[in-house]
């Protein structure tokens, strides 16, 4: 009997078991796999978002590292803030920041590598030599470079968005100040710079500008980037009896310059040095006794008394450390990333052509140093002019500030007659060729 019963009941038990087991197995599989099927594989952990890569091209080693690393930090900070706010068009900004080792020849190489890897826009460069070296790659690949540093003008490329000041927004107002009563009615200026495009072109513009002003250039001298020995240059300054110096020396060469000026007893009251590339970051490396009382021209100082600036400085310090300083061109670098974001959002696309069209609509951004606006004709920015006197705490007292942002003039007519630029109507109009000490 038991065997008969067993035979009879067996198929029933198996069927029931299969039914129950099947349901259980299906439920278990559904419990495990359903989240993966419906929301992708990022179950439980933060979902990895789609990204858009951008390139930050800065020298992190070599003579320019002292200046450029902080600009990179400002750009990273802007990207992190953008990502924290949800990214751009639903995509997180992913940065690539290779080292260009203070070598202009490495900029185009690194740029090409990054463009090949898919970056949609580039931010960075410091020296004009590096920016100019990048232009062929930018033109060939149709990418935009957002350039945050003050420069000499005499250039307008549709591939570059110029966030720094040009001479009419920085150096020329400083010359006017030196000529004024407030500036001490200086009459003899010595032009001292590093030996590359920016100092030579800037000084050429200054010389042309001074042709109609009561000030003469008593001497000019250029030393290689990275040079630390300025003794001979300082002797020359003293020998020419210059009553002011325009300093376009870049990078950590300024350490040697100000040390030699102080050693020679150059008094800032009698012979003030007005620097174009000395900001708060560079001042950290200079002994306060050597630089206090001299001047720097800029569009932004950490001491700008605007609420937006104080907020920005605090946020930056919270993120990077209580003793970090901000300066020009960190501020334009940060603003340019946000301007790019605005342009991308306006265009609804990351494509260069669309972003450029959006920028040429005259986008503006209220940055820590005040409102900046893209000039559609030149792709340069309107900027405030500010002149600061160096304090012993390595900050600046702002002694002169323009009442409103100054429009950019990349081709000052005193120096480049006939040259004009209007990218909304035909682009560049070439004037007569100008030769500047071997650089055209």
């Amino acid at each position: 009997m038991p065997s008969t019963e067993r035979k009879r009941s067996r198929p029933v038990a198996r069927r029931e078991f299969l039914q129950t087991g099947g349901v259980a197995a299906t439920l278990a599989a559904a419990r495990t796999l359903a989240p993966a099927l419906f929301v992708g594989c990022s179950v439980g952990l933060p979902k990895q978002s789609a990204t858009v890569p951008i390139g930050l091209l800065h020298s992190q080693t070599g003579t320019m590292a002292i200046s450029e690393a902080s600009v990179r930090d400002a750009e990273l900070f802007a990207c992190e803030q953008i990502n924290a706010a949800g990214g751009i068009l639903g995509r997180m900004v992913e940065t690539q920041a290779p080292d260009t080792r203070s070598r202009a020849d490495l900029f185009p190489k690194r740029a090409r590598e990054m463009i090949d890897a898919g970056v949609v826009a580039l931010f960075g460069c410091w020296t004009s030599a590096s920016r100019k070296a990048m232009l062929p790659v930018l033109e060939e690949t149709d990418r935009l470079l957002f350039y945050p540093v003050q420069y000499e003008g005499n250039e307008s490329s549709p591939q570059v968005v110029y966030g720094g000041a040009v001479p009419n927004q920085q150096v020329l107002p400083a010359i006017d100040w030196l000529l004024s009563d407030e500036g001490g009615r200086r009459r003899k200026i010595f032009l001292l710079g590093s030996d590359y495009v920016y100092p030579r072109t800037t000084n050429y513009i200054v010389q042309k500008y001074l042709e109609t002003k009561p000030m003469v250039v008593v001497g000019q001298r250029y030393l290689p980037l990275g040079e630390r020995n300025f003794k001979e240059a300082v002797r020359e300054i003293l020998a020419t009896e210059a009553d002011c110096v325009l300093n376009t020396v870049n990078g950590d060469s300024n350490l040697g310059l100000f040390a030699d000026l102080a050693a020679a007893g150059v008094d800032p009251q009698r012979v003030p040095v007005v620097s174009t590339s000395v900001a708060e970051d560079e001042l950290r490396n200079l002994l306060p006794g050597n630089v206090a009382g001299h001047y720097a021209v800029s569009c932004y100082f950490q001491s700008v008394p605007l609420a937006a600036n104080q907020e920005w400085v605090s946020a930056f310090r919270r993120e990077f450390g209580f003793d970090r300083v901000t300066g020009d061109p960190m501020e334009p670098a940060w603003c340019l990333v946000h301007l790019w974001k605005k342009a991308v959002e306006k265009a609804g696309s990351f494509a260069t052509e669309d972003v450029r069209a959006a920028l040429r609509d005259g986008l503006d951004y209220d940055g820590p140093g005040g409102m900046i606006r893209i000039d559609p004709k030149t792709q340069h920015c309107t900027k405030y002019f500010r002149l600061g006197r160096i304090r012993r705490d390595r900050q600046f007292d702002i002694v002169r500030e323009s009442a409103a942002p100054l429009a950019p003039e990349p081709y000052p007519q005193v120096a480049f007659p006939g040259w004009k630029c209007d990218w909304t109507q035909g682009g560049l109009v070439r004037g007569e060729e100008v030769r500047i000490d071997g650089n055209i």
């Binding site: 038990a13 278990a28 179950v43 002292i66 490396n285 200079l286 970090r324």
Partner: protein, 261 residues
């Protein structure tokens, strides 16, 4: 590779592994077992023979699983130790260079801060994706360049500088070890053996002459435990991936100290 499993939470990963093994066993028990039993059903005391072979097999397989689990744990543990060693060397170096005269001291501390921040914010997420972060090397080089710029001016500075250089070498060594660990994992061939072993174990259990319900219950338990063991090894493998992984906590603690006033 099945790296997507590291995106799952530990619980879901475990459930997935157990479910895969149990479902595999059950399906085999229903569909394959009747055919497999044809080979041994005429053998007397077939269950004894299968049981004997299975126990022998399980000794070797258990040893293999145990050793692999220990290796995976050891890999993770060594990586965690290297991360701690790197952070400790970084901390000591930070203290050393913060005593340098300015501007060297400030520049060097900022560079170390930059390195630490990069490691936490950028390098770690890359490591979790199995990518060796490249930009930390740039930051280490920038620091080295500035460190070698410093010329000690007195015996005290000479001692401090020598100590900083020693710590820097320790830091570089630990850092290199961390980077080597990014793609440390159990070799693929070992995984093949583990999976083959698991499949053979289940096949052998199918050979037992038991009621289906018994198979489902006992075999299912065995399969669930096999799944758990393999989950354990997989979770501990790849030290930077998944929830059971080496965290950036030592660097985070250090950075908090670095940025505080």
């Amino acid at each position: 590779m099945l790296y997507w499993v590291y995106d799952l939470t530990t619980t879901n990963f475990a459930i997935l592994m157990i479910a895969v093994f149990v479902v595999f066993y059950w399906l085999g028990a229903i569909f394959l077992r009747p055919f497999l039993r044809q080979f041994i059903k005429s053998t007397r005391a077939a269950n004894d023979v299968v049981g004997y072979i299975l126990s022998c097999f399980c000794v070797f397989y258990g040893l293999l699983l145990g050793l692999i689990a220990v290796t995976a744990y050891q890999n993770g543990s060594d990586t965690a130790a290297n991360v701690t060693r790197e952070a400790a060397a970084l901390s000591a170096l930070y203290e050393d260079v913060s005593r340098y005269p300015d501007p060297y001291g400030q520049n060097l501390t900022w560079l170390l801060r930059d390195y630490t921040r990069y490691t936490i914010k950028y390098a770690w997420p890359l490591q979790q994706r199995g990518i060796v972060p490249a930009e930390g090397t740039i930051r280490a080089q920038a620091f080295q360049e500035k460190l070698l710029d410093f010329q000690p001016q007195n015996p005290a500075e000479e001692i401090l500088h020598a100590e900083a250089l020693r710590q820097f070498n320790n830091f570089l060594e630990a850092r290199r070890m961390r980077l080597f660990s990014v793609n440390t994992c159990i070799p693929a061939v070992m995984w093949y053996v583990v999976i083959l072993g698991a499949v053979l174990t289940m096949v052998m259990v199918w050979l037992f002459d038991m009621k289906l319900l018994g198979h489902m219950l006992l075999g299912g338990m065995l399969a669930a435990y096999l799944g758990t063991m393999i989950f354990l090894i997989a979770a501990m493998d790849n030290p930077f991936r998944g929830e059971v992984s080496v965290s950036a906590e030592p660097f985070e603690a250090l950075y908090k100290h670095m940025v505080s006033e």
